[in-house]
Amino acid sequence: MYRRSDELGPEMNNRLALRIAVFGGFALALFAILFFRLWFLQVLNGEKYLAEANNNRTREYRVSAPRGEILDRNGRIIVANRTSLALQINPRKLPAEEAERRGELAQLAKLIHTTPHRLRKTLHEQLLLAPSAPVTVRRDVGDYLVYYLEENQDRFPGVGVQRVFVRRYPHGTFAAHILGSVNEVNEEQLKEARFRGLQPGDEIGQEGVEDTYDHFLRGRPGIKKIQVDAFGQPTRKGQLVSTPPVPGDNLKLSIDSAVQEAGEAALAARGLPGGFVTMNVHTGEILGLGSSPTFYPSLLTKTLTQAQVDALYRDPVAAPIIDRAIAGLYPTGSTFKLITALAALESGTITPSSVIEDGGSFTVGGQSFQNAGGASYGSLTLVPALQVSSDVFFYTLGYDMWDTGQLQRWAHRLGIARPTGIDIPGAEEGLLPTKQWRDELAAEGLAEERPWSAGDNIQLATGQGDLQTNPLQMAIAYATLANGGTVVTPHVGLEVTDAAGRVLKEFAPKPRRRVSFKQESRDVILEGLHEAAQAPGGTSYAIFGGFPTPVAGKTGTAQRVGHEDQSWYIVLAPYPNPRIVTAVTIEEGGFGAESAAPAALQILEAYFGKHSSGESGPNGGSPG
């Protein structure tokens, strides 16, 4: 092919020239690719990569802000903060070697009393949320552990301790059901508009007023921006900018510690599940609200053990976490008679002077309804009927209104089985049995269900049967009657103040609605309730007869299937122009006068003990 070993002939020259030309073209193409790619990266997309480079080299550290304190209406601290040491793992600094990393985590797990499996799971879950951010694996570590880790730092690369703020509850179980807790924001919450801007690991209020007023309490975390190298190590003079954290504002509650303590003590003394609420009838400010059994809110600041979770949440009947005052679902017994009386008066079923014969029992359609205790009170008008709590009187009213819907209409107007608008999450609406509701159930063909009957309305008239409500709704109904028709919005949040005590915002939620009824109806019902509480022969005269302040109160004894009778007491004070309403219920507490009324008395004693001048309390004023 070659003519001479070292000299190329003309034929080869042409072929070689072609090959070299192809080679040159190939080289040209490769350089064109490089130049174009360079142009693409630096000129067309330079800005994007510059931003990425800047993002790369800066690390933002959030400096957590202390949450605002929660105070009672007089400024007493209910929830404060304390600093605590939290154990954090920086995943970027963990050993790269799989076996080494596992070994370290296993050792660490032993130190913090968990299993390596659970520790790795926590780590994994947090890393999915925020890749390469430090993960808090345990709060409130003891000093001994911190010292140990510091002395053995080389054995625990990537493990650090950070100072964090933790809620402190100086008064134990005080107001546990109102407060709620503080915990790390979860994945679903991060998607909510109100938590925009938060990052995994940030803490927010969960449940209670911590949740409702989180926006004010939370504060703004500070941001420390520093320059780091590829290994996340801060560079020299690398502090770029820093914004200090802004502490949260303080929340002042309408809670009156004296009332709250009295209520909690009264429930605790009886040792039975129950709930209470004391509310200003004009403004809806809640002075005390509690539920028994209760719990230590401080428990919720740490990771709960399974046993603690079970104790708090599992038991559907005795679970301490349930707030019976707003989430209980109970029939109310005779405390409902206030609503029955108003419905009867306003619908013209009776007048204050109508007389009904109480012969001890009431028979309709072959079914006989008895007075409690088999008593019979003879001829009664409304006031004495309320005073002695004649069931037959109210059975008659229930029967008279059984297919008019008037009883349901008035119960509905007064707020039974409706949202109350309270600023504590977790309230239940309950159930007001109506003709329509029962007829629909019956139409669905459920075997044990039957259409609406007079018996249903007779039951409802005395607060028995299918009715499901709670102390808060009943307190609102009583307050509405007492204040002349304003359905107040119950609330515990009073005002937001800054650290210096200046008021930044006041909460005075507008009434839910207005209900109009005759002044005479109100007066006569309150008179009946006053007689019941403080006139000889009244159902709770034994309890309230000697109470120095005139009050109007009604006992209730609710029958619950599968339970002993439930004790109720609802009282308006002072009579005749009430400022406050207190509703107490005690599960399996027996007659109203047996347990709920004495508990209510304790609460009123606390309230009037403080406001001993009686007539000129802080929220005095005449009803509308």
């Binding site: 070993s5 330079g46 080299r57 190298d229």
Partner: protein, 398 residues
């Protein structure tokens, strides 16, 4: 373009007034080639000086000093080689080839292990990496074998022989392990065969076989549990297809290099460069030095450097066509391919369009062996150029 040889060459300007330049042989050398090579080496020293100031505590000019020494030594070597008639290497082909294989193999015995791979001898002043010089030696020897064997055997036998000659040192280097350099050996072998006239059909078969081999090594071998590549090699080869967030991962490194270059924008970030200053880009003084240039000096700087490489390779290709004999043609072709392959793979890797193979950027990456070998290769190119000019002059004088 080859036709220029048959045309009467224009008189050399200094031809009739022999002076110091004539005596140094300068008029017969390719000035553009020399400027491109020296310019790249000088730029490398400059970049290393700026980018590695804080790398060695207490010695801000550690890399700068050493790279400067290598560059000066290399330029001297380049000149010396330029004055030697390269044709002698053809006669020494067997010796050169033997030296190449033995020196590369000796690394296994006396080699200095760095990061799990034995590539170099530890000498008093620097560590010598025989496989770098081996690139040039392979070109010189293989071109000789191709010329020598041009009339022996059938075309197919010749093709197989050339492949075997190239494969032996490539395999030794691959086992060090140094995947990148073995790929350069492969590229050199193919280029010399290409310029040497191996049939297109043979290249088609070789291409198909290579594609099958790559598929086998990357996909099939790991799948059946007998991996040919080390895990990190495999990872590096495939990582440019999937950027990763793990700093210890090859995909992360490449992504960081891409960010570094992009962030340089048009005119660069100078001393404000963070990607290559704060360790986001690894190996910034060797394999990823182009990312440093891209970030610090922007499109202007990076395009300037690429232009110098384009000039270098254009001049090399021009010398292919000028050579007075076909040995020079093959040698120049091999060197041009060696430079082109390394520049494209390294810069492509920095730009995120080629896999990470550990191939240094010729003349730019820090490293004595690479700088020396590349400048010596340029010296051989100069020698081919000089011999061509001298023979033209001789003809002219006749």
């Amino acid at each position: 373009m080859y036709a220029t040889r048959t045309r009467r060459a224009r008189p050399e300007p200094f031809a009739l007034r022999p002076g110091i330049a004539e005596r140094l042989g300068l008029p017969y050398m390719d000035a553009s080639l020399g400027i491109a090579a020296a310019g790249l080496a000088a730029f490398s020293v400059f970049v290393l000086g700026q980018a590695t100031k804080h790398d060695i505590p207490g010695d801000p000019s550690y890399y700068l000093n050493r790279q400067a020494i290598y560059a000066v030594l290399g330029l001297v070597g380049m000149y010396v080689l330029a004055r030697i008639d390269y044709s002698r290497f053809r006669e020494l082909r067997v010796g050169i080839y033997t030296f190449l294989c033995v020196s590369v193999a000796l690394v296994f015995v006396f080699g200095f292990a760095a990061r799990g791979s034995r590539r170099s001898f530890e000498l008093p002043f620097f560590s010598f990496q025989p496989s770098e010089l081996g690139k040039l030696l392979l070109v010189l020897a293989l071109a000789g074998f191709v010329i020598d064997g041009a009339r022996r055997g059938s075309p197919r036998q010749r093709t197989v022989r050339y492949l075997a000659l190239g494969f032996a040192p490539a395999a030794l280097v691959f086992l060090q392990p140094d995947l990148g350099t073995s790929l350069v050996y492969g590229a050199i072998t193919l280029a010399v065969m290409y310029v040497g006239g191996v049939r297109w059909t043979h290249f088609a078969v070789i291409g198909a076989a290579l594609a099958a081999l790559v598929a086998l090594v990357i996909v099939v071998a790991p799948a059946i549990g007998t991996p040919v590549l080390k895990e990190y090699q495999q990872q590096r080869l495939t990582s440019f297809t999937h950027p990763s967030a793990d700093p210890s991962d090859a995909g992360y490194q490449q992504n960081q290099a891409k960010i570094a270059i992009g962030s340089g924008e048009k005119t660069g970030r100078g001393d404000k460069a963070t990607q290559t200053r704060l360790d986001f880009v690894p190996e910034r003084h060797t394999d990823f030095i182009f990312a440093v240039i891209g970030e610090r000096y922007g499109f202007v700087g990076a395009a300037f450097v690429l232009s110098l490489y384009a000039l270098l390779i254009w001049r090399a290709l021009r010398i292919v066509t000028l050579s007075k004999n076909s040995y020079g043609t093959l040698v120049a072709g091999g060197i041009a391919a060696m430079l082109l392959f390394q520049v494209f793979v390294n810069v492509g890797m920095n730009l995120g369009i080629m896999p990470i193979t550990g191939i240094p950027l010729p003349l730019m990456s820090y490293g004595g062996s690479s700088v020396l070998a590349t400048l010596l290769a340029v010296g051989v190119l100069q020698s081919i150029h000089m011999q061509a000019r001298l023979s033209q002059k001789g003809r002219f004088a006749r």
